[in-house]
């Protein structure tokens, strides 16, 4: 069966009751959508199987005279690589396998059960969003697609927030969502941009990132860990006459990159003081002296004042 044939069967409410083996390429979004629609049309509740042992158990149950196969359940098995070769699996009509890779021999054993899902192209994701939110101007949806980096899972997640509303109000609500930050992570920056700005004493960039910090996943203790590692590496390279991989624990490429991009922004005395400061933070948090909610602001002020 091809994907087009299955799509037609779904659209005409004429899905055959059979084993399906869905093979996806880059992500399983489409395969999962089809699986959910098939379950819905058969009015089955989804039960996930954990391993091939469960598949064997289901096959064994077929010949168990006391076992009544549950026609109200949609059995689903997710696996990276599918190599189960028992042909009796095809007798389980309410089973869907979702896999990234199918062993060569599987195609011969289950010739009519395999559906191949191609890679989703950007225009398909765009079409999907346009159809899901028909009430929103396409130019606005295009900006959302860029923000989500055409990640179909993120696009779907953001679209879920609006699609429950009537088409008439979707456009106005989209603007409201944007202004109130409801579309998650609309920032182009991440925690590493933040630490780079600190290490390079780039106050302008730091100010820009700081203003967006609520949209960026910056966890205070994680920030301390990254800064500690960065400054420790800078100390090992900048303060050594001849830094080597054996002496620093870094690769030659890392040493070169640190020398080129990270050294020279702080003096020796400043580096040591910053290192001393960073290595006290954990103790001060664990003893209750330093509240975590003020940590990010405290780090910025302290490092720039040293």
């Amino acid at each position: 069966m091809t994907l087009q044939e299955l799509k037609l069967a779904i659209e005409t409410n004429n899905i055959p009751s059979q084993l399906f083996i869905f093979e996806y390429s880059d992500n399983n979004f489409l395969a999962v959508s089809y699986m959910q629609e098939i379950s819905r049309q058969f009015n089955r509740s989804i039960r996930y199987l954990e391993s091939e042992t469960d598949l064997q158990a289901e096959i064994a149950a077929l010949s168990d005279i006391f076992h009544s196969p549950s026609i109200n359940e949609q059995l689903v098995y997710f696996t990276d690589s599918f190599s189960f070769t028992d042909s009796k699996l095809a007798e389980i009509k309410n089973l869907i396998i979702v896999t990234h890779k199918i062993d060569k021999q599987i195609s011969a054993i289950f010739p009519d059960n395999i559906i191949i899902f191609p890679k989703l192209e950007q225009w398909q994701i765009t079409d999907y969003l346009y159809q899901t939110l028909p009430g929103v101007q396409k130019s606005k949806l295009d900006s959302l697609l860029v923000t989500c980096n055409y990640d179909v899972f993120r696009v779907s997640s953001e679209a879920e927030k609006l699609k429950i509303f009537d088409q008439i109000v979707q456009d106005a609500l989209f603007d409201l969502f944007v202004s109130s930050g409801a579309f998650s992570d609309r920032s182009q920056y991440d925690i590493f941009n933040f630490t780079d700005a600190l290490i390079h004493k780039n106050i302008c960039l730091l100010k820009t990132i700081y203003e967006q910090k609520n949209s960026i996943d910056i966890e205070a203790i994680g920030l301390v860990t990254i800064l500690y590692k960065n400054f420790r590496n800078i100390i090992n390279v900048q303060l050594s006459n001849n830094p080597t991989p054996e002496g620093t624990g870094l690769t030659s490429k890392q040493i070169y990159a640190i020398q080129k991009y990270n050294c020279g922004y702080f003096s020796v005395a400043q580096l040591l003081k910053i290192f001393e400061f960073l290595t006290t933070i954990d103790l001060r948090i664990k003893t209750g002296e330093l509240p975590v909610d003020m940590l990010i602001d405290y780090l910025i002020v302290k490092i720039f004042c040293i």
Partner: protein
């Protein structure tokens, strides 16, 4: 089978005077690592003829419900140094309302590191420090007795082996003698020899800190210049802070190296 506990006579007398009805339902045993907190718990269990069940790794509402419904009395042991704030809050109600068949024993290095609400609901028993005479009952090696402060630490040192202990002593002496002239990257490389978690083929950090304290103590006795007193204070604080639950020991040690280097450079 009776359990022998040395050096805790006052505490043992208090326990011996209790019965099933008079022993507190919620108790904290406070003492340094290796001081015998678990042994004391077993002593209480033998005295009261009760089993000990360690519930440290399974502190959930379901476990508490099982304990509430238990028909026979038991002692439930919790290693307090491993508790998160959330887990301490889970056991609060459990501590507050005495259960018919449960005696809760929490073992900690320092009761002060538990939430005040947990401390307030428990009877706190502090294990007494061990004198050298008591430690001699466990081991006759005077060098090890000078380093260890508890019987458990003595046993750990014995298990490390004499060669490893001597290597640690040499490294500790080298640190105090050379740190003032070493570059900071060179100083930081010391941590590569130490096991901060459970790394094999490296020196146990807790034992090493005790050896550092032993070495600097001898330096102060031999030469009472002010900077050596400062070094001793730094080392004592390091040993004390290492006992704080969930603290990052590598950060602590590197911070210690930074300050030790500054202090020892006063001698140059």
């Amino acid at each position: 089978m009776s359990i022998m506990i040395y050096g805790q006579d006052a505490l043992i007398s208090q326990i011996d005077a209790t019965t099933l009805d008079t022993f507190p339902r919620s108790v904290i045993f406070e003492g340094l690592p290796g001081s015998g907190k678990k042994l004391l718990t077993n002593y209480v269990a033998t005295h009261l003829a009760l089993p000990v069940i360690d519930i440290t790794e399974s502190l959930t509402q379901e476990t508490i419900e099982e304990i509430t419904e238990s028909v026979s009395p038991s002692i439930y042991l919790i290693e307090g140094d491993k508790l998160t704030i959330r887990e301490q809050n889970v056991i609060l109600k459990f501590l507050e309302e005495p259960l018919k068949n449960a005696y809760i024993v929490i073992t900690v290095t320092q009761a002060a590191f538990l939430l005040p609400t947990v401390q307030n609901r428990c009877q706190i028993y502090t294990l007494a420090p061990y004198s050298k005479e008591i430690l001699k009952k466990f081991c006759e090696d005077t060098f090890l007795i000078d380093i260890a402060v508890t019987p458990g630490q003595l046993i750990l040192l014995q298990n490390e082996g004499n060669t490893v202990i001597q290597d640690m002593k040499l490294l500790a002496e080298k640190i105090f003698n050379k740190i003032s002239i070493a570059s900071f990257p060179n100083t930081l490389s010391i941590v590569n020899k130490l096991a901060f978690k459970s790394e094999k083929d490296k020196f146990n950090i807790d034992i090493f800190c005790n050896i550092l304290r032993y070495v600097v103590h001898n330096l102060v006795i031999a030469d009472n210049r002010a900077f050596l007193f400062d070094a001793y204070t730094l080392t004592s604080d390091l040993c004390k802070h290492m006992a704080i639950p969930n603290v990052n020991k590598q950060y602590l040690f590197e911070n210690f190296l930074y300050h030790l280097r500054e202090v020892m450079r006063q001698s140059v």
